[in-house]
């Protein structure tokens, strides 16, 4: 009985130690924007291949099934897409002319252009979009993703990379309850902060009550948070109400359908250097 009692006491201390270790792990992440702990990166590296294998198997099986059942529809879709490509090619050649005009004008007034952006495709191998903390796991070919790298689709902004381990990257989705994005209303250029919520909707905060906001207004990134470049579609306003503290309460529907993600793009944008982001006012010239 005494042996069992001392054993329980010993494991009681072990429990306290284990819980303290977990608490330290948790506390080390509060307010940190770095790429997670080494343990988390290691676990992502270990679980990534399983997620990749599950994704590949699902894709193969699903692909065979779909190909059999939708052959006729695919032919029709292909015909429609060919004619659409033709239209878009004509439009593109017209836009090339406009781009040339813009470049000449920008050069004439010596305008410093925005950050150059290139895209890199990545495969979505795991998505948890239902719980309060929403995330994606990506498989990235070639060079490894970098922390805070923006992730987008053709429809708009997805989120940012929070952990990168080998070819795997963990992405915090903008609808995550702890995510926030510097954004603006495209029509009025009024800036605010888009935050995720447990329900999966977005909220645009810090827009004053006197500001004109309408349902249907497009919200794009403002390029002020040092992570996302300006002009990426975030969503559109679905509800505006007077909130507390002289600000509107604006609900925003994401422009991306998160339920249909199979591949995304990593933005290879030149980031604002940390030295400039962290510099204090009055540092200049010293």
């Amino acid at each position: 009985m005494t042996g069992s009692g001392s054993g329980e006491r010993r494991s009681g201390w072990l429990l306290v130690l284990a819980l303290a270790a977990h608490l330290i792990l948790l506390a080390s992440q509060v307010g940190s924007r770095s790429g997670g702990t080494r343990l988390e990166s290691w676990l992502l590296g270990a679980l990534g291949p399983i997620a990749g294998a599950v994704d590949l198997t699902g894709d193969t099986l699903g692909g065979v099934g779909r190909a059999i059942s939708t052959q006729g529809r695919l032919r029709e879709e292909n015909r429609q897409l060919e004619s659409r490509v033709e239209q878009l090619e004509r439009r593109l050649s017209a836009l090339h002319g406009v781009e040339g005009d813009y470049a000449r004008l920008a050069e004439a007034v010596d305008y410093a252009r925005g950050l150059e952006v290139a895209l890199r495709v990545a495969d979505v191998v795991h998505a948890d979009l239902e719980s309060g903390q929403r995330l994606l796991v990506l498989r990235v070919e070639g060079e490894r993703a970098t922390i805070d790298q923006p992730v987008v689709t053709e429809q708009g902004l997805i989120g940012r990379v929070v952990i990168a381990q080998g070819p795997w990257a963990k992405v915090q989705v903008i609808t995550d309850s702890s995510a926030s994005v510097g954004a603006m209303i495209e029509r009025t250029r009024r800036q605010g902060l888009v935050r995720g919520s447990p329900s999966g909707e977005l909220e645009l905060d810090f827009v004053p009550l006197q500001e004109d906001v309408r349902v249907g207004d497009r919200i794009v990134t403002a390029g002020i948070d040092g992570i996302y470049p300006r002009g990426l579609p975030v969503g559109f306003v679905v509800d505006v109400r007077p909130g507390e503290d002289l600000f509107h309460r604006i609900r925003v529907a994401p422009s991306v359908d998160f339920g249909r993600l199979d591949h995304v793009y990593l933005l290879e944008a030149g980031r604002v250097p940390e030295a400039i982001l962290g510099a204090e006012v009055g540092d200049g010239g010293r």
Partner: protein, 172 residues
């Protein structure tokens, strides 16, 4: 041997979790397979093993979900320890008892996570009561199935080994 069995069960849970998430986005919200594995290890009544199992299962859950890393590890360690503590005093063998154990474990886990999220940030994502109810039912049912299945498998394996031994004796 027990460690290998636990690691294999954890890998199987990860595989099923990923498969389930692919089939339905609701799967990871309503079922916690990693907790089932942690409780399976904790039901042996070994307290130290329960702490290790809870921590490992929780860390894998944390790696496959968003939010602060270590959240589930903290909660699952407490739940696994409490389960092992209870298993030293009670015999939990009946299907209803196993179901109740898993359902209660989910409730405690969610309460701990909620408390931690409140302590860590101003606006935590509160899990709805319906969501917790579903999670308790689904994880409870799955835990019961796994426990009953494992017991049957063990019995069959024992019978097979006994049969093999007797055959060997006849042969020699």
């Amino acid at each position: 041997m027990a460690v290998v069995r636990f690691l294999l069960a954890l890998a199987a849970a990860a595989l099923l979790h990923l498969l389930g998430s692919r089939i339905s986005g609701h799967f990871p919200v309503v079922v916690d397979l990693f907790l089932v594995v942690a409780l399976w290890a904790a039901r042996s009544g070994h307290l130290t093993a329960a702490i290790a199992a809870g921590s490992a299962a929780g860390l894998v859950t944390d790696a496959l979900t968003g939010g602060p890393f270590g959240l589930y590890a903290f909660a699952d360690t407490i739940v696994a320890y409490a389960t092992a503590f209870a298993a030293r005093r009670l015999v939990i063998e009946r299907a209803f008892g196993v179901f109740l154990l898993h359902a209660m474990a989910v409730a405690v886990q969610q309460a701990v996570i909620l408390g931690l999220l409140r302590a860590l940030s101003a606006g935590p994502s509160l899990p709805g009561l319906t969501f917790v109810g579903f999670r308790m039912l689904a994880t409870g049912a799955l835990g019961t199935l796994a426990a009953v299945g494992a017991r049957r498998l063990e019995r069959r394996w024992g019978r097979y080994r006994r049969g093999r031994r007797s055959k060997l004796r006849i042969g020699s």
